[in-house]
Symmetry: C2
C-alpha cells in the first residue's frame, strides 16, 4: 500500500535574503515525496525534460520512492525562478518556463492505479480530474490548487472539490475561491462544495483544519532561522498524508495529528534551500518536533480558584 | 485586593463595514476594566473632560469597579475617530483630539496605591514610570505600549520594560521595538530588556506567550461575525489579568490559562461596537469559550501505529 502523488517536478532558482540556489530540484511532487517518504512508500507521476538531473533524486530512491512514473520527454524541464522579500512573507516570480510541463498529461502506470492514499498536487484541475478517472479506490483523496486555477479553471476546480476528501489551501486562496473575506465562512463554503476536510495553511501563523463541524488549530512552529519557504505547503501535505498512511483509523483525532505532522514537515522544509533539510531529516527529529508543538499548545482545565 | 489600571478614557467614533458608532465610551482603561471586572475588583485612574457621559460607565459601577480615580477636568474629553477596512485588519485614524488627556498626570488616590495587580495601559512611558514610583508592592506589573511611544519615547519605554513582569504588544510593535523581523528573536530581545513574559497579540492569528524559555500559542477564536476590533487588545489584557487575580499561584500553567482567558475576552470584545458585548457578557459565556478554545487546540500523543 502506498501514496501516489501526481504533480509538478521543477528546477527552482530561488533568491532569498539568505542566499540563492540555481536549478534546485523542486516542484510539488518532489517536495511532497521528500516529506511523505519518511513515513510511507511513495509513487510519483510527473514529467521532466531530457535535461533533468535525475541523480539529485537519489535520496528519494534510497527512501524507497518509486520514481518510475516520472516521464522523461524531449525538451526542457519546468523551471521557476523567484525572489523572496526581507521577511520571506512576500515573493515575486521572476520567470516561469513550462517546458515539457506545458503538455503534461499524467500517465499512471498500471502498478500505480490502486494507491492507499492519493495526492493531487497543484496542477490544472482538468488533469487532476483525469487522474481521478484512472485511479480508483483510494482510502483518501487529497488535492491542492492555487490562485491561477481558481481564476482560470473555476468550474473544473469546483467539480474536483466534489470528489476529494481533503483540500489543502492557504488563507488567500480560500478567501478568493469562496469570495468571502471571513476565513471561517470561506472554509465552510468550500466544505459545502465537497471535501469534509479543508486545511488552510497560513505560513508562520500556522494551519487550521476544518473537519466536519470541528475546527483544529496548529500554530506555526517558531523558527528563528528560516532560509527558503519554497515547497513548505507541499511538504506540509506530505507530512499530513505520510502520517495518515500509517494510521488504520481515519478518525478526527488522526486528522488532528496529521495536521501537526504536516506543520512539523513544513517547518523543517523551510530551514534550508530546496529539499536540503528534508533529504537529511529523520523520523526521530519529526517526533521530537511534534512533541514540542504539543508542549507549546497544551493547557490544563482551569483550576477551581479561577472562577 | 484589586487590579489597578491607569490608562486612557476616550470617546471613540468608529466606522467599520458593519456600521458606525459616535462618541462610544472607550480607551484603554475602559476596555480593560470592562473585561477584568468580570473576575476581579478593578480600580481605574484616568482623566476625562466635563463633557464626559459618566452614566455610560454604570455597567462598570454595577460590577464593583471603583471609578473614583477618574479625574474630571474642565475641557473636552479625549476623542478618537477611525475607519476600518473591508476585512477589519487595517485601520485609518481619521481624527485624534487629545483634549484634557494632553496634560494627563495620573493622580493615584491613597486607596489605590497597593493593588494586587497593576496594568499600565498604553500612555506615555514617562507617565507609566511615574505611576510605578507611586504604586508599590503589586504581585504583578503589566504594561502595554504602541508604535508612537516606541518611536518617540524609546529610552523611557526601555527603562519601563526593565521594571515590568508582563509586556503586552503586537507583532508589528515587537518587531519595531527590537528592530528584528523574526518574531521569536524579537520577543527574546524584549525579554532580555526585563519582562519575563512577553505576550504578542496577532489579532485573528491569535497570541503567543513567551514565558522564560517556554513558548505558548493560543489561536484566534474563529468568529464568523465581528463588528469592531477597537479595544480588543485591552480586553485581552483585562481577561489575562482578571484571570490571574483569582489565582494564588502565578505558575507557567496559570499564565497559559491567562493567555486563553485574554483571547476569549478579546474575541467577545470584537463581536459588537465599543464595550457593548463586554457589558452584557457573563462568566459562564467566558468559561464556555475557554473550553471551546481548549477543544480546538488539543491533540493526543501519536498512537504507536504512526511510527
Amino acid at each position: 500500500m502506498s501514496i501516489l502523488v501526481v504533480g509538478s517536478v521543477a528546477l527552482d532558482t530561488v533568491h532569498t535574503p539568505f542566499g540563492t540556489v540555481t536549478d534546485a530540484v523542486g516542484g510539488s511532487a518532489v517536495h511532497f515525496a521528500a516529506a511523505a517518504s519518511l513515513f510511507a512508500p511513495v509513487q510519483v507521476v510527473a514529467v521532466v525534460g531530457d535535461d533533468y538531473p535525475h541523480r539529485e533524486l537519489d535520496f528519494l530512491r534510497e527512501r524507497g520512492v518509486d520514481l518510475s512514473g516520472i516521464e522523461a520527454r524531449p525538451g526542457e524541464s519546468f523551471r521557476w525562478a523567484g525572489r523572496y522579500g526581507y521577511d520571506l512573507s512576500s515573493r515575486e516570480t521572476l520567470e516561469t518556463r513550462l517546458g515539457v510541463f506545458a503538455d503534461f498529461h499524467p500517465h499512471i502506470p498500471q502498478a500505480f492505479v490502486s494507491p492507499d492514499l492519493l495526492f493531487l498536487g497543484n496542477i490544472d484541475p482538468v488533469l487532476q480530474l483525469e487522474v481521478l478517472e484512472r485511479v480508483g479506490g483510494a482510502r483518501l483523496v487529497a488535492c491542492d490548487s492555487m490562485n491561477y486555477w481558481i481564476e482560470g479553471r473555476r468550474a473544473e476546480l469546483l467539480r474536483l472539490l466534489g470528489r476529494v476528501d481533503v483540500f489543502f489551501t492557504n488563507d488567500e486562496e480560500v478567501r478568493e475561491l469562496a469570495n468571502e473575506s471571513n476565513l471561517v465562512a470561506a472554509s465552510r463554503w468550500v466544505q459545502a462544495c465537497g471535501p469534509r476536510r479543508v486545511v488552510v495553511k497560513k505560513a508562520e501563523h500556522g494551519a487550521v483544519l476544518f473537519d466536519g463541524h470541528q475546527i483544529f488549530f496548529v500554530p506555526g512552529y517558531p523558527l528563528e532561522d528560516l532560509r527558503d519557504p519554497t515547497g513548505a505547503g507541499d511538504s506540509f501535505a506530505g507530512g499530513f498524508l505520510g502520517y495518515l498512511h500509517g494510521v488504520a483509523d481515519l478518525s478526527p483525532g488522526s486528522f488532528r495529528r496529521a495536521a501537526v505532522f504536516g506543520t512539523a514537515l513544513g517547518s523543517f522544509a523551510v530551514e534550508d534551500f530546496g529539499v536540503g533539510r528534508l533529504a537529511r531529516l529523520t523520523r526521530e527529529e519529526v517526533a521530537s518536533r511534534v512533541r514540542e508543538i504539543r508542549e507549546m499548545t497544551q493547557f490544563d482545565e482551569q483550576p477551581e480558584e479561577a472562577c
